[in-house]
Symmetry: C2
Subunit: 233 residues, 2 copies
């Protein structure tokens, strides 16, 4: 499966790309600037070297302009500041086609328009992911996931102590994304129900950023108290 | 310290009361109906018998009408359906006095007005706890906490696998409530920052209820990735 990470030059996108590349996935870093995308891809290839599935094979990440990256991918992961969310999706629209899965990891932090990173903006549709669902062409499934993963931890080598809550109205697409989530060591993926629930998962990020500021950590969440078969590990 | 649990005849309130009574706290169950409060108190005394701090002493829970319960308490814990939140606080107002701490565990679930338990209502002030802050007399500190604890697990004997995120604009009051939270075995208490953050913690409950419905569990949350001194254990 080919995964395009739109906004893949940023800390969250490049961290996810690194982990997936190490797990053997084909990843394309997308950016408005093709040159920057290629530079990030080169760095990730270096960082991931010799770690694919425990074998000596080098990871293979490439870089491309956002739309071109989307055209050759089955799965598109959005990791962009919320201030560019709607505009980016409108720009990507001609490059998207039915059957693709758009994974939205965007959090509408007030910081994206100069406010605090511990507060979120109200989004008319309820969440960034629901806004995305309005802006993609028909037949593209939107899945909300990866909002709560620390970019810092993704760039380190160890397991990531965090659950990924996956919300979507398309159960098959959600299952694909849960499978992708569990390729990150330490991560458990959970069915978070319908896409509308993304509003809660997105806001948890603001709470986690508050913990990080107060306690100088890289926080995440775990959901406890469910039967073990509830988690995709 | 005397703790009044307003709405203490319900599952969440009686569960908290049981755990605190077992830890040796003096607890008054509050209800609109004094008789029902006394009945719940009698049941809790029976359930908690012989378990206070590991000694053979019986727990001591009493019951009273809500306002009378509040008058003799230093800490008042609200565990009521959101539909009665504003009215109850208006009713309690004459019984509250400066220096008391009002702990709000209320979640504005849509279920409280006939909707779904996996959705929340929009509260003008941002959260139930912030609504409470508007309705208490001056000098009463409002702290949001305990929204995410499973009532079912509170009524069992074992430790509760959940963190309590404590939000308040009064740091001293928040510290008292974190101390109270950690009296529940298994619970770690965390500084969740200002009272305004309660809006996120309240909504997490709706997400947890969704997990419980989909997976038949009693879910909770843990915050990971922070230095150990961040947690009050």
């Amino acid at each position: 499966m080919t995964i395009a990470v739109v906004g893949g030059t940023g800390p969250e996108g490049s961290g996810l790309a690194l982990r997936w590349a190490r797990a053997g996935e084909t990843v394309i870093i997308g950016s408005r600037d093709r040159e920057r995308a290629s530079q990030t891809a080169a760095k990730l290839n270096q960082a991931g070297h010799g770690e694919v599935g425990g074998s000596a094979r080098a990871v293979q990440v490439s870089g491309d302009e956002n739309k071109a990256a989307c055209q050759s991918a089955e799965m598109i992961v959005l990791t962009i500041p919320f201030s560019g969310h709607a505009e980016t999706l409108k720009d990507l629209k001609p490059a998207l086609r039915p059957g693709q899965v758009l994974v939205d990891a965007t959090v509408p932090l007030a910081a994206s328009i100069g406010g605090r990173s511990t507060r979120t903006l109200g989004v008319w549709q309820g969440s960034a992911a629901q806004q995305a669902a309005e802006l993609v062409p028909q037949g593209v499934s939107v899945v909300a996931a990866f909002e709560n993963l620390s970019a810092e931890l993704l760039h380190r080598d160890g397991p990531v102590d965090c659950d990924v809550i996956v919300c979507s109205d398309d159960k098959a697409a959600a299952q694909k994304v849960r499978a992708l989530a569990r390729k990150i060591p330490g991560v458990r993926a959970l069915d978070g129900g319908k896409l509308e629930n993304a509003r809660i998962v997105e806001q948890i990020t603001a709470l986690l950023i508050g913990f990080n500021i107060r306690h100088k950590g890289h926080s995440g969440i775990r959901i406890t108290g469910l039967p073990s078969e509830s988690y995709d590990i």
